[in-house]
Each structure stands twice: as C-alpha cells, then as structure tokens.
C-alpha cells in the first residue's frame, strides 16, 4: 500500500540527497506547499485530537492515585468493564467464525445475488448505531421477529447481556469479512491443488493450508472488531436493558457519571477502558509479529 516509500517511486535526486547527507528531515522536493499542508495538518491534529486527549490524560492524573483506585476498583466499574470486554470478546469470536465463512463464500463461490450480498456486508458500517440499536431491540424483544421465535424455548436476548453480544457482533461483522476476503481472493490455487495431489482431503486442506494462510488477516479482523466493540455505545444501550452490575456497559457508565457531573469518575472509567484496549491491541500485535518472525526463520 505504501509503494511510494520504496526507492522505485522516489526521484533519483531524493535518494541522492538522502544518501549523501543522511538527511532525515523534510528532504528536498520540487513540489511546493509542504509547510502549508503540514501546518494545517498539525494545527488540526493539535486542536481536534491532541489537545482534548491531553485534557483526558491530565484530568485522570489529577484525580490522585487513591481516588483513582477507589473508582476503578468499585464493583460497579468492574462489572461494567467485565461486561464490555467480555461481550466484545464473545462478539469478536462469533465474527471470526461467521465472518471467515462469509468471506470464503463471497471470495470463492458464484451464486445469484452475490454482488448485492457483498455490498450488504458493509451495512453495519453505514447504518447509524442508534438505528441499529432500536432495530436490534425490536427484533430480539420477546414480541419481535426473532425474539418471538426464541421465547418459547425460554431464551431471552433483549435486555440481557446476551443482547449486548448480539449488538456488538452486528457492529463488528464487516471488520472480519473485509480483512479476510482479499486473502481468500488472492490465495494461489496451485497450493491447494498440490495439497490434494499429495493426498490431503478437502477438510485437511482447509485446516492445514487455507486457514493458516488466512490466520494473520483473521487476527487483524478480530482485533479491529474487538476494539470497535469495546467502545461501542449507540447500538448497545437500546438492547442491553442497562441494569447496573448486570447489563450496564462501560461507555454507558461514563455517560451516567457525566450526567451526574462526576467528571473525575467518568474520566477514570474512560482511562481504564482506553488502557485495557491498548494492552489488548499491543498483545495482538506482538503475537502477529512473533508469528511473522517464526516464519521468517523457517
């Protein structure tokens, strides 16, 4: 994707300047406008992104370690964080299974309506979260189209933690499909054919040849879906029921604290959420890097 960084695309003069002087700052280019473009970018980044996020960090630091710990370790905070992260994990795993399957079907099979379905996969991206929220709660309520089918079996989805998982799985689906689909499209058929000729069954080929090739993309899709689900608010609050300690997600707890003008409490929960998601993403990236290193050695 970043072909322009390769020497092939840079003008020879660029390379010459860099090599001769070990230049690493804004290097010579005949194009004008670097200062203006960079100035606008940095100004906007500073005002819109960096300054407000700094305010959050400083506010959290200003709470004081004791008060911070007290809010962070309160049963209600812990329950909200556990639900947000647990439901996000469950939803991301659902997305890995069905997202990979859908990606395979869209990449490999021809069937009527494939293009329409391919486009529809992006609906959760395009549909505003509040709309998704009320639509899902209408569907999964006891008198809804789907909830009504499950009610006779004693399965309740809307207004339970299960509802949270459903909403998060809806939101995260496109991340996995779109991450994995290109890999399946570009996978060399020869490798699969070789596996078959060497005597592997189709199932064995799938698990020993195809899925390992797609694994990094699956993990990437999983982590994107997970990150999105942890912070998700609009699609969840309508279907969750929002009972403290049971079906109250962390973002909702932030909103509740804000509405009570408890800025410190809201900031602490927000910091915990950001910190934990950061650690998870760090772990996922480290796992991907380790796998890559292992393969490089072989």
């Amino acid at each position: 994707m970043t072909d322009a960084n390769s020497p092939a695309n840079a003008l020879p003069v660029h390379a010459a300047v860099r090599d001769a002087k070990g230049f690493t700052g804004p290097i010579f280019s005949v194009l004008p406008g670097f200062r203006l473009a960079m100035g606008v970018t940095l100004l906007a980044l500073g005002l819109v992104v960096a300054l407000p996020l700094t305010a959050l960090v400083l506010k959290a630091a200003g709470v004081g370690p004791l008060a911070f710990w007290e809010i962070a370790s309160s049963p209600r905070t812990l329950a909200a964080l556990r639900l947000s992260f647990g439901a996000a994990l469950a939803a991301a795993l659902i997305n890995v299974v069905f997202g990979t399957l859908i990606a395979w079907v869209l990449a490999r099979y021809e069937f009527p309506g494939r293009r329409v379905i391919d486009a529809l996969v992006d609906l959760p991206f395009a549909l505003p979260t509040a709309v998704a929220g009320i639509a899902l709660s209408a569907l999964y309520a006891e008198n809804g189209w789907i909830g009504g089918l499950l009610a006779p079996f004693g399965i309740k989805i809307a207004y339970t933690p299960l509802g949270v998982v459903i909403a998060l799985a809806f939101i995260g689906l496109p991340f996995v499909v779109r991450a994995v689909q290109p890999v399946f499209e570009e996978l060399e058929r020869d490798v699969e054919e070789a596996a078959v000729l060497l005597g592997a069954g189709r199932l064995r080929t799938a698990f020993r040849v195809i899925l390992p090739a797609a694994l990094p993309a699956v993990v990437t899709g999983f982590s994107l879906a997970l990150a999105r689900a942890i912070g998700e608010y609009g699609s969840v609050i309508f279907i969750a029921g929002n009972l403290p300690m049971i079906s109250e997600i962390a973002p909702l707890l932030i909103v509740i604290k804000l509405e009570a003008f408890d800025y410190a409490g809201a900031t602490v929960v927000a910091t915990m959420m950001l910190g934990l998601s950061f650690l998870i993403l760090l772990g996922v990236n480290a796992a991907l890097a380790m796998r890559q290193r292992r393969f490089a050695r072989v």
């Binding site: 322009a4 700052g25 406008g33 506010k59 079907v105 058929r189 800025y263 993403l281």
Partner: protein, 279 residues
C-alpha cells in the same frame, strides 16, 4: 470450479446457505424492521412525525453539522495527504497513527474529552463563561465532536492513493511553469477525485449518523441541540416507537444510498480507489 481443489456441491451449498442465513438474520432483518416499524401506524403518521417542528429542527441541525464537518475534513484530509504522500520526513508513521487515532477511541470518550475542555468545570469553562460563549450543550460542541469522530475518513483514503500515484505528474506541471496551486487544482485534484468522493461519502454518513459522541456533548434540548439520531432516542424513550422508527428510517435510507453509491464507485472506479474493500 472444476479444479480438484474445490468442495463438493453439497458442501458448497451448505456453506452458502449458512452464510446467507446468518446475513439475513444479522444484517437484512435489522434493516427491514426499521421500515416495517416506521410504517406500522400508516403513512399518515409517518409523514406527520417527520413534519413536526422538533423533527424538522433535528433534520436541519444534522444537515448543518455535516455541512460544516465534511468540508473541514476535506481540507484537513487534502492537506495531510499532500504533506504525507508527496514529501519525506521524520515521524511520518507516527503522524499517520495520530490521524487514525479517533477511530480507536470510544464515541463516548470522544464526547467526554470535549466536555473536559469546554464544559462548565472544564479547562476553558470559566473563561468561556466570562465571554458568554457556549460550546458544550450547544451546536459548536456537536460540530467539534463530529469533526473528531470523522477525522480519519478522507485522509486515510487519500494518503495511500496519493502515495501510489507519486509526484511525477506534479513535477512535470511545475516544470512547465504552472504555479503550485494551479498544479494542485488541475493535476492532483482530478487524479484523486474518485478517492476523495469515496472518503467524503463515508465521512458524511458517519457525520449524519453519529450518536455516542454527539449525545454526550449535546444536552438533548429538543428543537435546539437534537440531531436526527438523538431525536430517534428521545422518541424511543417516550415509547413513541413508530415515531422513533420513522426518524430512524431517514438514517436507514441514507445508509442505503451511501452503500449503493459506495458500491458503484468501487465497481466503476475501483482502480482509482485506495481503500476499496479494505476500510
């Protein structure tokens, strides 16, 4: 499909079937239920809901917010892409990460950070009060929060596209005597127009549909600081389900139009899009 490396007809049918059922339950049903519920009390009620003054105000505010946030993001996105794609400098990777940051922040936190800055007890709270400027619980806060959550859309579409295109054409234009601005408007912009449109499309959809961030900073004043998504919530919490779904159907319609245009762009101009199928 006649390759040795392909599934039996039965397995293929089974996989397609499972995928279709999952998508029908998970994606198509929620979309369908919006329109069905919106028309539950008849077309008359539907039209009446949308013509209410509060609903009209919500539509106007949503359009206004998008009309500010989208152009701001176009300017920022073009500037960022120009700096990042056409020049080499230290810290480029860090800058790209920063540009993408709003996507990994919870919408609620995106609103919270502006409350901490501009709210009554925020950094600039007393100063703003002295000058009688209201940002939180007012339109400026909604616009700021919307710009934050839509910040990466245009830039992340344009950067890979302009990187792939390189600077050869611009250099030729400059050598032939065109000014910098003229080069930008007659060479660069036409080269990236479809990518820009793609980014704007996604940016606009998010700007008009954003709920979490806007909900935190809006204050929910009916007819004043309510956008369409917030009005959906208000009607829903008042148990006016048909009304809530009527408002929601406007946004669902917008989502469908966005998807159709997006698919059309990917199909017709896929070669000139960087992020087609990639997000």
């Amino acid at each position: 499909m006649s390759s040795v490396a392909s599934e039996t007809k039965f397995v293929r049918g089974l996989l397609i079937g499972v995928a279709l059922i999952f998508l029908a339950l998970f994606v198509v049903a929620p979309l369908g239920v919006v329109f069905v519920e919106a028309l539950r009390k008849g077309v008359g009620f539907f039209v009446e809901t949308l013509r209410e003054p509060d609903a009209q105000a919500a539509v106007q505010l949503t359009v206004l917010v998008a009309a500010i946030a989208v152009p701001v993001n176009i300017v920022i996105g073009l500037a960022a892409a120009w700096a990042i794609a056409k020049f080499e400098f230290k810290g480029k990777a860090a800058l790209i990460t920063l540009l993408d940051l709003p996507f990994s922040v919870s919408p609620v936190v995106s609103g919270l950070i502006y409350v901490l800055l501009f709210g009554a007890q925020g950094w600039f709270g007393t100063w703003l009060k002295d000058y009688n400027v209201q940002i939180i619980f007012a339109v400026p806060g909604i616009v700021l929060a919307t710009i934050f959550v839509t910040f990466p859309f245009v830039a992340r579409e344009l950067i890979p596209l302009m990187q792939a295109q390189g600077s050869v054409e611009e250099e030729a234009a400059l050598m032939l005597g065109a000014s910098g601005w003229r080069t930008f408007f007659t060479v660069t912009l036409p080269n990236v127009k479809w990518g820009l449109l793609y980014g704007v499309l996604l940016c606009n959809a998010r700007a008009m549909g954003e709920f979490g961030a806007v909900s935190v900073v809006s204050g929910h004043i009916r007819g004043m600081t309510d956008t369409i998504p917030l009005h959906v919530e208000i009607l829903y919490n008042e148990y006016n389900y048909a009304g809530a779904f009527a408002m929601a159907s406007l946004l669902a319609g917008l989502a469908l139009v966005t998807l159709i245009l997006k698919t059309f762009l990917e199909w017709r101009h896929g070669d000139q899009l960087a992020a087609a199928k990639r997000h």
